[in-house]
Symmetry: C2
Subunit: 600 residues, 2 copies
């Protein structure tokens, strides 16, 4: 499968048009402001100030912000954004060492330790800078950082691949690998692919290396990557690595590596993924844990990890397309990814719990032991702010995940209102999703079209140029050959449905979630009052849309009211209620409170 880049796709309206406007007009501006206030942009000037040392991964924050800016500037003029980007680029290029090295922390504060401290994110930062440089270059925004990062990549190649005189073999946090593949794609220079390949294959072969945490599995160092068949360790590290593995497997036609990637994907989606698409369930190191260990209130489920899983789905589809990759992409996108950002575009979640009890939060405040405490409010850029600019760069590039080609076929994988030219035909989508099931696809030209049937749809009605047609579905795609001007009206059956977790997910036994189309719904105390764990939904038969600040569905439910005693022989008594459900991604926008996804 080959995708159409977002720069060739225009988002024309609806849900994602609004989201991208908010992204470009609020989020990216606000992150800039907060990065400035917290000294991140200042750090790029590389002026030593012992009192305000940058964090070792601040370069990557700036890089992802630059990539977000590039993705916006690729599509529209914004002089202020351009000027801010130029200043940061200027600082980085000016301060790059003659050898090509750049790291605002190490070269200023610990030059003697350059490439000596494996866990400290040096190559991770380099990777994000390379990604930013490629994005800026391909957006036609800037070539200076591109040149600088090629020089840096050459220096890394020299030190790690040719001389092998660095203090470690592979980075403690994968990222450089996938960035080098992007640089290879952009420059065509084989050495970057070789270096990516080298970093991938060396991993897990040097157990003598220093670990930030005490266990190799955290860094995916427990075995050579081809022997890694289950997703282990820090989720973002793991997924960034798997993305690069999938890239290399595809480019080199390496079947064994592709199979390894598929095995990792299966382990994740069959055993280690939240209903929201979240991964990395444990607070202990933000890691994958054991199969079916998916706690709700203590879900970690980092926003970056969700974005990474979406990227991984896309990369796997590029090796050998299957509808399932797009189903998981859709689940991750509309739930965990979007939950990472507040409705106003200014606040962000790093951790995305699937359940909230206010007292947990208050209690932990009281004891000042916030380490293990899920937080019920998004904040504007935090200490470890990898997620905010990761989200903005991703939202801005959403156009890349809609259209694709496979052989002669033109695929529509996501129903996002947009238009493009693909395979010689003009294609345009008008979509109600995620809140409705109606989609109109207009094609002008010849196209062997494949329209994905979402996993959640209970059926589809189809009209071609106004005439009812029985859809021909194969492998979860509707097949229709278009020639000339054709309007395809699809009406995917959408409605509230119960979803049940595997019985081994012991947090969810006896409970069920409610989905509406691609959306996982939740109940909040803002709509429904106090404790929500005692809410039982017997049937969704009477579910109906209701007024609300967000998309709201009202369902008949009951609260199981117990006696006042701590323990009683009296069974709780059901009390009828009209339960309001909203999309999970809309939660925590109306003050602190309880939230629930899994109901009795």
């Amino acid at each position: 499968m080959q995708t159409i880049d977002f720069k060739e796709v225009e988002i024309t309206g609806g849900f994602f048009k609004d989201l991208q406007e908010k992204n470009a007009e609020v989020s990216v501006y606000n992150i800039y402001k907060r990065f400035r206030e917290t000294g991140r942009f200042q750090a790029m000037k590389c002026i030593k100030d012992e009192a305000h040392k940058p964090h070792v991964f601040w370069d990557s924050d700036i890089a992802k912000w630059l990539e977000s800016a590039a993705n916006i500037l690729a599509k529209k003029k914004d002089d202020r954004l351009k000027a801010w980007a130029d200043e940061a680029i200027g600082d980085i290029c000016r301060n790059q060492l003659p050898c090509g090295y750049f790291n605002s922390y190490f070269q200023v504060y610990e030059p003697e330790n350059i490439f000596r401290k494996r866990p400290e994110h040096e190559l991770y930062c380099a990777g994000h800078l390379i990604e930013a440089a490629v994005a800026l270059h391909e957006a036609g925004v800037d070539d200076k950082l591109y040149a600088a990062m090629i020089k840096y990549a050459d220096y890394i190649y020299e030190r790690f691949y040719v001389k092998k005189d660095a203090g470690f073999f592979t980075c403690g946090h994968p990222e450089i690998e996938l960035a080098l593949v992007k640089l290879y794609n952009s420059t065509g220079s084989q050495k970057y692919l070789d270096l990516a390949d080298y970093f991938i294959e060396e991993r897990g072969r040097h157990n003598e290396e220093t670990y930030a945490f005490t266990y190799p599995v955290y860094h995916q160092d427990h075995a050579p990557v081809r022997e890694q068949k289950t997703a282990e360790g820090h989720a973002v590290r793991a997924l960034y690595l798997y993305i690069a593995m999938a890239d290399v497997a595809r480019i080199k036609g390496d079947e064994q590596l592709a199979e390894t990637c598929e095995s990792l994907f299966r382990d994740i989606v069959d055993k280690k993924m939240y209903i929201t698409g979240g991964t990395g369930s444990s607070y202990h190191g933000e890691t994958f844990t054991f199969p079916y260990d998916l706690p709700n209130i203590f879900a970690y489920s980092e926003t970056c990890s969700a974005i990474a899983l979406a990227f991984f789905c896309d990369r796997l589809a590029k090796i050998r397309n299957r509808a399932e990759y797009h189903e998981i992409f859709e689940r991750v996108l509309y739930n965990n990814v979007l939950a990472g950002e507040s409705a106003d575009g200014k606040g962000f979640f790093y951790v995305n719990p699937l359940e909230m009890h206010e007292c947990i939060y208050d209690y932990n405040e009281g004891l000042k032991t916030k380490l293990f405490c899920p937080i019920p409010e998004r904040v504007e850029v935090f200490d470890c702010s990898c997620c905010p600019p990761n989200l903005t760069r991703f939202i801005e590039s959403i156009g890349s995940y809609i259209y694709a080609t496979e052989g002669n076929a033109v695929l529509i994988n996501q129903y996002i209102s947009s238009k493009t030219e693909i395979g010689g035909a003009k294609v345009e989508i008008d979509s109600e999703m995620p809140y409705g099931g109606k989609v109109c696809v207009r094609v002008d030209g010849k196209a062997d079209l494949r329209l994905r049937v979402p996993a959640w749809s209970g059926g589809v009605a189809m009209r071609v140029n106004g005439k009812k047609v029985e859809p021909k579905i194969a492998e979860k795609y509707i097949e229709i050959f278009c020639d000339g001007e054709i309007e395809i009206a699809l009406d995917f059956k959408i409605g509230a449905r119960f979803v049940y977790a595997n019985e081994n997910v012991w947090y969810d036994n006896g409970r069920k979630a409610v989905e509406y189309g691609a959306l996982v719904l939740c109940a909040e105390s803002a709509d429904n009052g106090g404790n929500l764990r005692n809410v039982r939904i017997r049937s969704l038969a009477g579910a109906k849309r209701a007024d609300g600040e967000f998309f709201t569905l009202e369902v008949n439910a009951e609260r199981l009211r117990s006696s006042a005693a701590l323990y009683s022989y009296e069974a709780p008594v059901p009390e009828k209620i009209a339960l309001k459900l909203i999309p999970y991604f809309s939660w925590a926008n109306r003050g602190k409170g309880d939230m629930q996804i899994w109901f009795l």
Copy 2:
């Protein structure tokens, strides 16, 4: 209420006779062996050995073992046990400093820090040594340690109460307070009561003191004790303090302090106690947390904390008797306390989870992060082995909690097969409890008898000298005046009953536990296979006794079988099973596996 000491009560048969035999013949011996192997007894010799430093609380382990030995030797001859006790007592007395001080850690390794390090358990150890000395003295076993500890108490009185030149005001771990009350009761010397009172009242008035953890609430230092109306901080510390507060309130007739104790009791039993009687639900500092926060798999519920709650119930009943204190005592005793020990009497639990999933254990083993890991196997004496000798001393003294007097009335609070003389009458109990509801009480003499009706009993049939009598029940006690030789046959209705938790206990919403008499039952995978979270019990109608290594009840249940997918639109299908339930205290005696108390 005044109790009859266990030394005046003979346990005549049944459940506790067996338990005490195991205690005296296996547990106390085995703990001695393990304490010897781990260097605890050697430490009493006070020979400096930098490579094998004792822990700061080892004196208290030895003290509780000595108290266990005293409680056994009070009732029977055991030369070997006596010789071991004598050796330890000799070591302690020989090494006591001329001033009276004794601490096997501080006087040998940090003499310059004697009474300078508040969190380091010095007065806690002194308290346990005093308790042991009183027990040995009152058992007629030994007076040397008694004399030595009086001297030590006098020294503490001098330093903390008279000169006030120690480095702190109150101990980081309460225990000395209740021990001083025992010494006051034993010697009649007012100064020990004054000192106990002083330690209680000074607590929470010196916030400048050094804390082991960063928050005063952990040590009950957040306010003067009379202002503490809710149970907070480290559960064992809290309960040991409350016990002493209740003692002092009773002795001094201090109504305000008694009310504070009652308020603390209410907070615990109404909001912070497991169905097993466990308290201190959090792994973060073994603490009480916020109301209704009672996680099952990550229950902390230390064995010592359960024993302490039993003591607290007894002390409160002594101020002003109510049946509820004995109900909670019974719940704690038959569930959390007894779960602390293995069936063979050799292994012990420090932490008592209410649910177990083997994979949690294995996973944590794998990652070597055992800190937050509940363990599914009892072990023979561990690093922090406060619980094993606490259990042995308590089991040996169980006779103290059966009979009591209040005014002219003779109370029977627990139905444990035993005999005694009380209020001029001979009283004898034959009891089937905990496995049956039949009890026979024989009285010879005059007694205004009060027989407690257990909270779990669904009714009681009564015969006096073979003749059916309608019981006269007031405040949960059957009242019957005895004169001469009388046999009272009670048949308390016993059977499996569902118990529901308060709706605010969100871990248990939609679930119910099964109790049989005083016993909380559980299911283990040893009887029932794999995951038990998906087990639903609709009714207990068909419950019947079944064969098994332990008391076993078989009930009709169903397992909710899901599809193999991680998430599915298909509801799980119930599969009929015969579920075997055993007493919670019998769990974890047949290898590692899953365990469940709360069922769908």
